[in-house]
């Protein structure tokens, strides 16, 4: 499926900012199930860009602004070919154990996914092969943590959302990661976009949001969207992967000046073919 994504975000500042240094993680990845055909980041004020791939394989757009400004806007427009979801692998626990050193960072709790006793108990209750455990645990989360937009913030952890019983896609992903890792399955956080129509119509633009889901290692990486309870497939566009949200904020930076407000995000997704 060929999808076009347009993602706009930014900040407004209370007083004039003379300089700011920023990193944007907005460019979709190219990998086995996804091909990024084009992607362009534009900023306002205009700035020279540098790009690099970070430790987690995400393409980072670096730019600094040196003209006085009270608002910073960043827009990324990309065209991506996606592939249908593959079937999950079915490895043995021995295979997982043998690769544990390689995946150690994705097996241990990260800052936002530290489990509490509740989550630990749930994880140890899951029985069967790694695949059974992954399917059981990740399918269960959306019933326990309700998707309620605005109920949490970027600083919310897995346990916060679990105790609250509600959250956004980011929180549901964090809870899922916490459970999978506790159960001994390497799992990573994925950020990107979802075309929200079940059957996307070519040429029709839908407004969406940044989305987040997880990937578990079952001999190979397998993506699952716990918010919607579906495997990550053609309608999912991958931008970044990491241990949790902290590894891949869409926009981060520092500036010298007074207070600021986040302008929020607008995302438009269009099926092109």
């Amino acid at each position: 499926m060929r999808l076009q994504v347009r993602h706009s975000t930014g900040y407004s500042y209370d007083t004039e900012v003379l300089s700011s240094y920023n990193e944007a993680r907005l460019v979709p990845q190219t990998g086995l199930t996804q091909l990024t055909l084009s992607s362009a980041v534009t900023t306002n004020p205009d700035a020279l860009q540098q790009r690099y791939w970070d430790y987690w394989g995400t393409q980072v757009t670096v730019f600094d602004v040196h003209v006085p400004h009270t608002e910073l806007q960043v827009t990324c427009t990309s065209v991506v070919d996606t592939a249908p979801a593959p079937a999950p692998g079915d490895p043995t626990w021995e295979l997982l154990a043998a690769s544990s050193d390689e995946h150690i960072e994705l097996l241990r709790p990260s800052a936002k996914t530290i489990p509490n006793d509740d989550l630990k108990a749930l994880a140890s209750d899951a029985q069967g092969s790694p695949r059974d455990v992954v399917l059981a645990l990740s399918g269960m989360v959306k019933d326990r943590v309700e998707y309620v937009p605005g109920s949490t913030g970027v600083q919310t952890s897995a346990v916060d959302a679990w105790q609250l019983g509600s959250g956004v896609c980011q929180d549901i992903a964090h809870v899922t990661l916490s459970l999978l890792r506790e159960a001994g399955v390497p799992a990573r956080y994925v950020s990107g976009y979802l075309h929200t129509a079940q059957e996307p119509v070519v040429g029709e633009t839908v407004s969406g949001e940044s989305h987040a889901w997880v990937e578990a290692w079952l001999g190979g990486w397998w993506g699952f969207d716990p918010t919607n309870g579906i495997p990550a497939g053609e309608r999912h566009v991958v931008v970044a992967r990491g241990r949790d949200y902290n590894d891949l904020p869409p926009l981060k930076g520092v500036y010298a000046g007074g207070g600021m407000q986040y302008l929020g995000v607008t995302v438009e997704v269009t099926r092109l073919a």
């Binding site: 900040y11 930076g253 000046g257």
Partner: protein, 310 residues
């Protein structure tokens, strides 16, 4: 040269000169009180404090209180100890730009201050003033003898010269307030180390008109206002030797040049009468030159506080 370093060097020049001139002023003040039984200690002390721009404290003033305030107030850079401490603090931040000897002289001077101050408590402040003058001379000698004549040197000397203009103006102002007694004019000359030079130049008794003429206009005496202005101007010219075709586009140099020519082409017999106006002009010039130099060379050296975007 780094802007931050240039700024520190400039202020080292200013502070050392300030400490020296203040100690000269106080030395003469204390001596006057001792030698002249008709001087009103309170009024004389008040004049000294006000000429230094220090707010007047309540109550009766005496030499002791004046000295404590202008010599030993550690927190205020308008006192000797405060100025020398500030000079040393600045030097500490730029010591790689100073010769080792110059840095050590500033540092050792600073470290010796508590002992010198204690000695002043016991034996009177004369020794302290002499110490400060000698150290200033020592520092000046090292400045001349161990520093290359590069931009660093120019900023040091620029600071020193501007401070000298300002301080000499203040000394004249203090004298101009009082009418009469020629001993006061001798004191003024002495506080500028100018008594002997004056006598050799004029070969007459001390006359107010001539004293003013000498201290304002003499081209050869290094502590005259004219000489200090010219020195400062030279520093600025050497800092930016690319003179354009028309006039002078460096604001600080323009200000200095105007002040210098204004003095230079005055009728010297009018000087004494015009003194209040002139001194006001000089002090304004010093302040404006200071901010022009800062604007041009010391741009934006405060540390920025960064905030994470969220």
């Amino acid at each position: 040269m780094l802007s931050r370093v240039a700024e520190s060097l400039y202020w080292i020049g200013r502070y050392v000169e300030r400490a020296e001139d203040t100690s000269r002023l106080l030395d003469v003040h204390v001596h006057t009180l001792i030698e002249d039984p008709w001087v009103d200690e309170h009024i004389a002390s008040r004049d000294v404090l006000s000429v230094m721009g220090v707010p007047l404290p309540d109550g009766r003033l005496d030499a002791r209180r004046t000295t404590d305030r202008l010599a030993f107030d550690r927190e205020d850079t308008s006192s000797i100890v405060g100025a020398l401490s500030a000079a040393r603090e600045n030097a500490r931040g730029v010591r790689e730009a100073l010769s080792s000897e110059l840095w050590e002289a500033l540092n050792a001077t600073y470290h010796a201050l508590p002992a010198q101050q204690a000695a002043a408590e016991r034996h009177g402040p004369g020794g302290f003033f002499r110490y400060v003058r000698e150290r200033a001379a020592f520092i000046g000698g090292l400045l001349d003898g161990t520093m290359p004549r590069d931009d660093g040197w120019r900023f040091l000397v620029l600071g020193r010269s501007l401070e000298r203009v300002d301080m000499t103006a203040r000394l004249l102002w203090a004298r101009g307030q009082q009418r009469g007694a020629s001993s006061g004019w001798i004191g003024l000359l002495k506080s500028c180390s100018a008594h002997e030079a004056y006598l050799r130049t004029y070969r007459t008794a001390v006359e107010p008109e001539k004293v003013v003429e000498f201290l304002v206009l003499d081209r050869l005496f290094p502590r005259s206002v004219y000489a200090a202005l010219a020195q400062a101007e030279t520093c600025l010219m050497e800092l930016d030797p690319t003179a354009g075709r028309v006039g002078v586009d460096d604001m600080a140099r323009r200000l200095l040049g105007r002040a210098r020519t204004d003095l230079e082409f005055r009728v010297s017999s009018d000087l004494l009468r015009e003194l209040p106006f002139l001194l006001d002009m000089l002090q304004t010039t010093c302040a404006e030159v200071g901010s022009a130099v800062a604007g041009r060379y010391f741009h934006h050296t405060a540390a920025l506080a960064w905030t994470a975007e969220r």
